[in-house]
Amino acid sequence: MISDVVVIGAGPAGLSAAVAAAEAGASVVVIDENPRPGGKLLGQLHEEPGTGWWIGAEISKSLAKRAEEAGVRILSNRQVWNLSPKWEVALDNGESVCGEYAVVATGAAERPLPIPGWSLPGVMAIGAAQTLTNYYRVRPGDRVAVVGMDPLSLTVAHELSMAGADVVGIYLPSKSVFAGSQADPDRNLEYLAGMSDLAPNALLRWGGRLASNRALRNLALTFFPTSGIPLMGTKLNLRKSIVSIGGDERVQHVEIATIDKHGNPGKTRTVDVDCVCISGGLYPVQELTRDCELVRIDQLGGTVPLYSPEMETSQSNLFVAGNVTGIEGAKIAMAQGTLAGTAIASRLGRIQGKDAVDQAAEAVRSARKSSAITFMPDIDEGRRIAEDLWLQLEREKSMTQKDESYA
């Protein structure tokens, strides 16, 4: 199968890239291993400030419909075996899809956060719980403990409550090499304070005043109620951690320790639950970008490809969009996808002039500015580092070319 553009990943970024390129007249094939397009957007459900409910399943559906109306071929249920230059995607049915341009929009995966007992059925990643609850409409459990405090875990805890689950609490992971600073109450409070417009208003009202100042934050931790503070139907427990998960063949209980303000455990008690959701944070998935210039930028969530202002990687005609470039929300992923698709359409000669590309680039910036949820607190710094490294790469390349012309 041959097309102008082959997109890997039918999440918000991939679909948006496909729509932008196809609406400009390019032939586009999208490949995805899930049964339905939408990626992690399918399970998203939260209230946006001012605009009402963000229902990921509906947005996915309309994006996919728009793509199909523009002539995009979406190949679902297809696993990618390999991506090779100029650009050929090998599929698990023995076929391949070739495109002059490729867009890698493989998104993110969750960092594992091992806790003794975490392999028991009933323990799952927070994102799995989200999709089950909001998309498949199946409660992951009746009594649920959530481990890890971040925008995703707080959002999903709320969604679980809305779906009728009893969320017994949100806890810190216990101290370990895996948990790192995620087990540190001080770091968590600082992190929570940085999430400006996110839904956990109760906490922010309570902590916002204190958390911005280090000395006061210390005070806040000392006086943080050991019973936790009520938050949207559950309890936020900055002074409790989950030490282990137990049960016979399935989750039946968790052992919860009261911790001091440095995260050191004290007394423990057992709480009955039938589900534990672990949130270890997201990292960009780089399985298909190994030939690109990659760099680890912790502010973006892990290792990411360097990319041009138009989303092209160091491999010519290979573009990226969405969480593969760093952990951000779906709206930003969509804007990045539109930028990549528009830039490709322009390179294909389907769009004249630079205006459309410039507008799409501006749309990414404004999406970032107006974003209600910031997953990575230092995302702006991370993007700046990535941009600087790209410019450095470009400079080195142009110097190399100059050298060659003198030779």
Partner: protein
């Protein structure tokens, strides 16, 4: 039992039912379910048994990444239950050579 039929934000649930079999037992699901979701809605958490110790395993990542939910679907081995749609008439089997005795799920 775990199906969310009432939801304060989302609309009514799709009603079209499907029937399938898992390890010899019959279950009902809803059209559009992933295999993993359909089984969980029936209270089935254990999807396979680990290769090393025969320990039970269930849904973990939900995005096809961890391979903990793979099972045999209509004779095809190692299909990821979390990203595969359940279809009417499916015959599903858990995998795991060292499956522990007496581990009967729900």
């Amino acid at each position: 039992m775990k199906r969310i039929s009432e939801h304060p934000v989302l609309g009514p649930l799709e009603e079209e039912e499907i029937g399938f079999e898992f390890d010899g037992q019959s279950y009902r699901g809803i059209k559009g379910d992933s295999i993993a979701a359909a089984l969980l809605a029936n209270g089935v958490r254990t999807l396979r048994y680990s290769n090393r110790d025969g320990e039970p395993r269930g849904i973990y990542c939900g995005i096809g990444h961890c391979y903990e939910c793979r099972m045999t679907v209509n004779g095809v081995q190692s299909v990821r239950a979390c990203i595969t749609q359940a279809c009417d008439g499916d015959v599903l089997e858990s995998q795991g050579e060292n499956r522990r005795e007496g581990s009967n799920d729900f």
